[in-house]
Amino acid sequence: MSRLSLKNSSNAASPMRVVTTKNLIILGVIAATFALVWLLRQLGIVTSVHESTLALICINIILAVSLNLITGFTGQFSLGHAGFMSIGAYTTALILLRFPTVWGFLAGLVIGGILAMIAGIIIGFPTLRLKGDYLAIATLGFAEIIRVVFQNMEITGGPSGLASIPRMASWPWMIGLTILTILVINNFINSYRGRACIAIREDEVAAEAMGINSTKYKIIAFALGAFFAGIAGGLYASYFYFIAPGKFNFLTSINVLVIVVLGGLGSLSGSVIAAVILTVLTTMLRGFTGVNNIIYAILLIAMMLFRPKGLMGTIEVTDLLEKLRLFKRKEQVE
């Protein structure tokens, strides 16, 4: 991650580091994705089934990338992501049902994200003293509490949830917010605050001895992760018309965790790749109830056996590109 930005700087210590080959490549990939999907839609190759898969991919990417910040980079084992997601989903849905406009949608996303963030901070203070499995259990319990609250409130429609939510989450919204999430979290990780989070994962005692207030940075990571989980929830509510408490049970949290672990704890591109693979797989296996979970389990076991660090480990795709280029450079010298 940060290895990368350092190499850039050692090559050329110019202040114009915004326009680098790496950034241009990223921009190119984004533009190409946009163009490709636009073209496929124009040609009518993308049907509504495909489109809903694409929407799910985007939502899962946002969820996985934001959970990776908490679990992969900061090392805090959280099973509460469905809880944060549901806060965003219900907020967006409730606002959209009253103000069915783009502005209502935008307000829903922002307010939902902020409320999820506040929830993240509130549960962060008491629970972040816990470590490992204990933290996982506490966050799991928290998410379940939120679900039960939604299930029993009148305004949220009780167990049957909310239906006929206006669909505002069109395709550009989806991909735009996905990219925004990746960029913001990537930026954060490559700042001194992000390095503090990684240091806490590596060795909390040493991080504290180097002047890092570990509670503070854990809460920042939790708040930021919860914010984007709220955004993902809002997108979900507005795209799929309908939300119910059952959608946000602990299995949802675990599915996100599976994506993060499979992609690599500490690799954003790993999360993106795993989110794409697993979402496509789930959609393809939709007809076979139960097979889904078996495949998930087999994938996880195989991963633990053959590649315990996940698909990408802690490396990013851009790091790989960088390495390839380094090799080329060496060859030229010889």
């Binding site: 580091r17 001194y192 180097m210």
Partner: protein, 266 residues
């Protein structure tokens, strides 16, 4: 007249259950000194470091540290969290090396420079504003430190890939990056061969000269301790049994007894 101490421990005691790990220890270090803390295994030396840095809270006693801005004013360190102790000017290394293994050498040092960054959360998220200027500054600063410790050409390596001796050096470099006035070194020569130890002694001498830093050193390598320390405290079973110059310590009956056992034991 003696100077005001930089740090002083007054009758510090800590018990874990029934075990008295450190009993009634009083010691001080004056600004600019290099003081050794020695003793047999399990004597409580590292516990003293953990007490000073706030990892443990003493059961009784006081730990006072000279204020950054007003050296005549002593602040109480008891009950302070480790990161605030570091912010007040005490840095440490660990007996069993604790680097951030998956981070680069440069980033290990830059992490310890966290206190010096001046950009807000928004700049962290957007990389706008002062972000790039501040990052450049920290890279320059970290490289300067790596130069002092001869690690400049390793800056892009992951910390875990460094050889043992260089990991020890990196730990000291990282500690220095927190801009301390007191450096606590916990067995920096452990596992080093005589040549590496020699180099370490030179490094310590160099950072004392360059940064004017005060050092409290735990070490088992007696030749190193006797050579570089100006004063030595000896700890045994949690109690201070001797205190003096290296020469005095070498001829102290109780110290020899603690290290070799008395006649009755044989």
């Amino acid at each position: 007249m003696t100077q005001r101490p930089l740090i002083s421990l007054e009758n510090v005691t800590i018990t874990f259950g029934g075990l008295v790990a450190v009993a009634n220890v009083s010691m001080f270090v004056e600004p600019g000194e290099l003081v050794g803390l020695i003793g047999p295994n399990g004597a409580g030396k590292t516990t003293v470091f953990n007490l000073i840095t706030g990892v443990y809270r003493p059961t009784s006693g006081a730990i006072k540290f000279a204020d950054k801005n007003d050296p005549n004013h002593m602040i109480d360190l008891v009950g302070k969290k480790p990161y605030t102790v570091t912010a007040r000017g005490i840095a440490r290394t660990f007996q069993n090396i604790r680097l951030f293994n998956e981070m680069t050498v440069l980033d290990n040092v830059r992490l310890a420079l966290s206190h010096s960054f001046r950009y807000g959360l928004l700049a962290s998220l957007t990389h706008l504003g002062k972000f790039h200027a501040e990052e450049e500054r920290s890279i320059e600063e970290a490289r300067r430190l790596l130069d002092v410790f001869d690690l400049r050409d390793k800056q892009d390596e992951l910390a875990r890939n460094l050889p043992y001796g260089e990991q020890r050096r990196l730990e000291i470099a990282r500690a220095m990056a927190t801009d301390p006035r007191l450096l606590l070194l916990d067995e920096p020569a452990a596992g080093m061969n005589p040549i590496e130890t020699e180099a370490l002694a030179e490094t310590i001498a160099r950072i004392r000269k360059e940064f004017g830093i005060t050092i409290l050193l735990i070490e088992h390598d007696m030749s190193l301790v006797m050579k570089i320390c100006e004063r030595i405290y000896v700890l045994d079973h949690g109690q201070l049994i001797a205190h003096g110059t290296p020469d005095q310590i070498q001829h102290n009956e109780r110290v020899i007894e603690a290290y070799l056992g008395d006649d009755d034991d044989i």
